[in-house]
């Protein structure tokens, strides 16, 4: 972590228009579809895997598996950590162009930070880069 924080800020300018852009959500809040495999909260070291969530999923089809924050509120309304329905409303209103083809949920708790940094994070970036058609990404945590 300390090494990471000493590096410069990786900054990609946004050069499009929101109204023409597809937006993806990438969330560390432990969100996944109810029919996807849950994150492994039994492993004290955390779970380094992630789930790809499609653009047509409704918030009610999603759930949280995460044991390091209080997600009772998110259990009632997933949009407070993974704003998929809100994003859809913004698309309907024309504020954004649309939803990206892929959104990502992972459990932002791990004791294996090096693996998260060197393996999980690049794999997620590659998911977004290949086939999501996202022009920008909203990041959320728990």
């Amino acid at each position: 972590m300390t090494n990471l924080s000493r590096k410069c800020v990786p900054f990609t300018p946004f050069e499009g228009e929101l109204a023409k852009s597809n937006i993806a959500i990438v969330s560390a809040a432990g969100v996944h579809a109810k029919d996807q495999e849950a994150f492994n909260i039994a492993d004290d070291l955390g779970d380094l895997s992630y789930r790809v969530i499609g653009p047509d999923v409704a918030g009610d089809d999603l759930m949280v598996t995460h044991h390091h924050y209080d997600h009772q509120d998110a259990d009632q309304d997933i949009n407070i950590v993974f704003p998929i329905d809100v994003l859809r409303e913004l698309a309907d209103e024309g504020f954004i162009g649309g939803l990206a083809n892929k959104h990502i949920g992972y459990m932002g708790y791990t004791m294996r930070l090096k693996d998260m940094y060197s393996e999980t994070a690049p794999a997620i970036a590659k998911e977004i880069d290949r086939g999501s058609r996202a022009q920008a990404v909203i990041l959320t945590g728990g």
Partner: protein
């Protein structure tokens, strides 16, 4: 490769700052687990999301955090500090 622009919504700005996100919005006083507000408060959630997305179009300094107040949230929680995490 150019990469994809990102904007973070965080309720733990001090903790998040360690990761040096390129752009971030801190909804002032929101608690952990409430990144976009409270359940069912769709107008509030929408405003937070719009404000975060608009940071993409503003000429923000790389690594800067924008703190915004949202009275509709109706609560105030201290954000965790790095020392307490």
């Amino acid at each position: 490769m150019l990469g994809t622009p990102t904007v973070l919504i965080t309720v733990s700005p001090e903790v998040s700052a360690q990761m040096r996100p390129p752009r971030a919005l801190y909804p002032n006083g929101f608690k952990i687990g409430n990144s976009l507000g409270k359940p069912g408060k769709r107008d509030l959630q929408k405003q937070v999301l719009k404000d975060a997305l608009e940071l993409l179009t503003q000429n923000t300094r790389p690594g800067s955090f924008e703190t915004k107040d949202y009275p509709a949230y109706g609560d105030y929680f201290e954000a965790p500090s790095v020392g307490s995490k």
